[in-house]
Symmetry: C2
Subunit: 517 residues, 2 copies
């Protein structure tokens, strides 16, 4: 086994951007992994920005290198902004509108990430320190490309903790992805598509590809051109990581082609439930045979517009279950006696409690994975990013019901969804089936992640798991040149044949003519 | 953990065919797996034929169901035939000739397999017994399709112990396989190809595909049509297995796209070396610092033509090493004192002995995997099937030197190859690197195979790991229909635009004309 002398380097240059949170769940995930690495004796340095929110406090588990940035916003400002903006938008606009907005905001976000990478690479003192420390590898989340550029500068093995790459689901960057059954990111489609859906999926794919090539990749390529030798291609660096720790598994994600250096660590943050604090346990216990519903819409969305909050509270009040609701705003007027408002909840411990019957969730990857782990059915209220896609995966397996935030307050929608999932046993049975499948693995996901990170350290990379594909130009990769050559040869042969036949015919005709003359 | 009450059913309808051995290493592999399953408390029934060679004796590990066949040949007859035919051919013909011959013999082999499947499905007593036994799953080697058909008839979960599927390397049947970097079966190419090699690879691919569609698949489809409902497609059954236990890993095989239900069990038969029998140990020990060379060309090829045997013996005689050679024919006149002829050798124990320096091998998958496991460099003398391709994989990693049987007796070729691999330390270092990579896994390959077989029993299949792809017609899978539609729409738009522009021009011209008039 690997001793405690390894130096380890994690690039997590997350910060709160005006438009999109660049840390949140991404950092929570990384933090879990780094703590586990620390507990195995590894020394970890985290690169963060001065505007970093989650990594603000000092930690016992790792040291920091801090980079000054000016364009971030403070946490409180960000939360206010997002609660107002997102909920308002989600209520008043269609899914397609939101998809378009998210789609177009990406370019700005990656501009920030490139500025940050430039700042880091220009910071000679920092780069000298990082070089001198002789780290064994770089761990980064490739949703933003800054870590990849720094890893290349330092010539270190690169490991991803990944769900998204730049703008798309991670697999799309390295594994063959037939658009006939692999739903494109944000398309809201499943792996079973009608012809019309396949057309939509292909259009999404083309749109993303054109956007990536025209606006996102060139930004990162410009940083490459400034700091590296000519010929260093950003997309090649991106695809060339040694290992991809993918934060899904095929209980959650639709089955699809994959690659030898993709390791599935979905749900690595899930743990058996710990006992609840006494007060909470008493509340949960008081639910009797009816059990408990828990509701949380993630780290950022803890406040609701009053009218929606009232509808939600009123629906809960009509149920025999007890409810624990993570809600920070004013106390809704319709709140029933059965509902407990909390600022924060031990979500994993509650999901693992034997009394828990239902999870009302926004569909963030972490929450969905925890629901699968504990086998709790879900009523989903997706807000942005991948949340709709995540919940769709549960729905397709019969473990969740989806509601749109735009219609949640109409026609008893919310109450009916709750009652439906509580009363129809198949939701619970399906989630418990997923739970059994998810847990039935030769090795726990967290241990798997640690094993493969240490594997890369032991062997200084994992070159033997990387294909030749990413070194090829696209026309070679897709054999366009070969097919054109073969088609050319076949055409020439056919033309020749035609010419010969014609020549013979003409000769024959001429001979006949001469004869007849 | 799974108890000892499961019933387990392995279809291994191997037999010795006039042209190609339908058991040999395929059965040896299956036998290993079944023994391990038995030792975990599973009850296994093996379906065999009356002409079965490897499964002739009764076994403590499993019971048999025996099917009468008439077209097999006896073991002794087969060995004589193959030694004469193959060695003569390999000596006198080019690789391409041999490839063509293997290619064309396939159709006959699968004809036999289909006849066998028909015989089994028609045997009402046997099918009734198999049905009544209520097995938990079927384990088969899909190099021949009979097991797949029987599994479908019994409606049981299906697990493959697989390297080849019908006529090609296993991955080609289920995983996307870009011909730009995935060398086609028997092409003799690696994953790094020049343009010309890519053209050759594509031609091989087309050749195999056309052959499979025109001659092999229809044979199996005919059996489907005879015994199953209309609409049951053999290729769909073939692709639809729950789990593929693939007898490679990416230390041996070139990295390539794969699928969620492909489990890598390469080298599962490898074990740490046991102590040698005393006489053999004394012989090995007497080699001193020079160490020992071992030579074995597999189960079938134990005899050589005299002239080649003489050249091999003479080369060995010139080396300071001791040699253990599996050779059954007459004692070569040139045999040196340092060479021990044996009928059979404990190959794994010898490869794992600290004195062993070199392995002269034919390149069967099992032997190559054992060489990797123990980190012993190889001089390869490939004869047929995948043996050239297998050895090429070692050569590409710098762990082996390849010789052609056609030139082994010329220009001191054999001696030079031996000396080169013995004297140049990189061969040994590279093989030891492969050995370290191969052994550095979270779970031993055999345990992995057992875990996933039991997983399929526990969950009655592994549907969540199977993609939607194999249910689609090829034009949908490749999005041909969608692309045609989109191209059509674009064409119509362009035509419309052209028409409008023309119309406007004409109008303008007319107006001008009218004005000027």
């Amino acid at each position: 086994s690997w001793g405690g002398h390894s130096r380890f380097f994690s690039i997590s240059m997350f910060w709160l951007n005006r438009d999109i949170p660049l840390e949140g769940s991404h950092w929570l995930n990384m933090d879990n992994l780094i703590k586990a690495l620390h507990s195995k004796g590894h020394t970890v340095t985290v690169v963060r920005t001065t505007k970093s929110w989650c990594t603000k406090e000092e930690s016992l588990h790792y040291s920091f290198s801090t980079i000054p940035v000016t364009d971030g916003v403070e946490y409180e400002e960000f939360v206010k902004r997002i609660v107002k903006k997102v909920i308002d938008r989600v209520r008043n606009e269609t899914l397609t509108h939101l998809q378009i907005e998210m789609f177009s905001s990406m370019s700005k976000v990656h501009k920030h990430a490139c500025d940050l990478a430039t700042a880091v690479l220009k910071d000679k003192d920092l780069m000298k320190t990082l070089k001198e420390n002789q780290y064994d590898l770089v761990l980064t989340d490739p949703a933003w490309g800054a870590g990849i550029l720094v890893a290349h500068y330092l010539q270190l093995p690169l490991v991803y903790n990944v769900r998204w790459v730049i703008s798309r689901e991670g697999h799309l960057t390295i594994a063959p992805s037939p658009m006939s059954y692999i739903p494109m990111t944000l398309s809201g489609l499943s792996d079973k598509m009608t012809f019309t859906e396949r057309v939509k999926n292909m259009l999404f794919y083309l749109l993303f590809t054109v956007r990536d090539r025209l606006t996102l990749r060139p930004q990162y390529q410009a940083v490459c051109d400034e700091f590296f030798q000519p010929g260093v291609d950003f997309y090649e660096l991106l695809q060339g990581a040694d290992l991809w720790l993918m934060r899904v598994d095929f209980v959650f994600e639709f089955p699809r082609p994959t690659m030898p250096n993709v390791i599935y660590t979905g749900g690595f943050q899930c743990k058996p439930a710990k006992p609840l604090p006494q007060e909470l346990e008493e509340f949960v216990h008081s639910s009797g045979e009816h059990g408990v519903i828990i509701m949380s819409l993630g780290t950022f969305v803890t406040e609701f517009p009053h009218d929606i909050a009232d509808v939600i509270a009123a629906a809960f009040a009509q149920l025999p279950q007890k409810v624990i609701w993570r809600h920070k705003g004013d106390r809704p007027a319709t709140l029933g006696n059965n509902t407990l408002l909390v600022d924060w909840m031990p979500q994993n411990d509650l999901l693992g409690h034997s009394k828990t019957r239902l999870f009302v969730a926004h569909g963030g990857t972490n929450g969905v994975q925890e629901a699968i782990y504990h086998g709790i059915p879900v009523v989903g209220l997706p807000l942005f990013f991948d949340q709709y896609d995540n919940l769709l995966r549960l729905k397709e397996r019969g473990g969740a019901k989806l509601l749109s935030m735009a219609t949640v307050d109409k026609n008893n929608n919310f109450l009916e969804a709750l009652q439906d999932v509580l009363d129809e046993p198949s939701y619970r049975m399906n989630m418990q089936k997923l739970s059994r499948l998810h847990r039935d693995v030769p090795m726990e996901p967290l241990d798997t992640a640690l094993f493969w990170i240490e594997f890369v350290m032991r062997h200084k990379g994992a070159a033997h798991l990387r294909t030749e594909s990413y070194r090829m130009p696209w026309y070679s990769y897709h054999s366009v040149d070969v097919v054109l050559l073969l088609l050319g040869v076949v055409s020439v042969l056919i033309l020749l044949l035609v010419a010969i036949v014609r020549y013979l015919c003409v000769r024959k005709c001429l001979k006949r003519k001469i004869k007849s003359e």
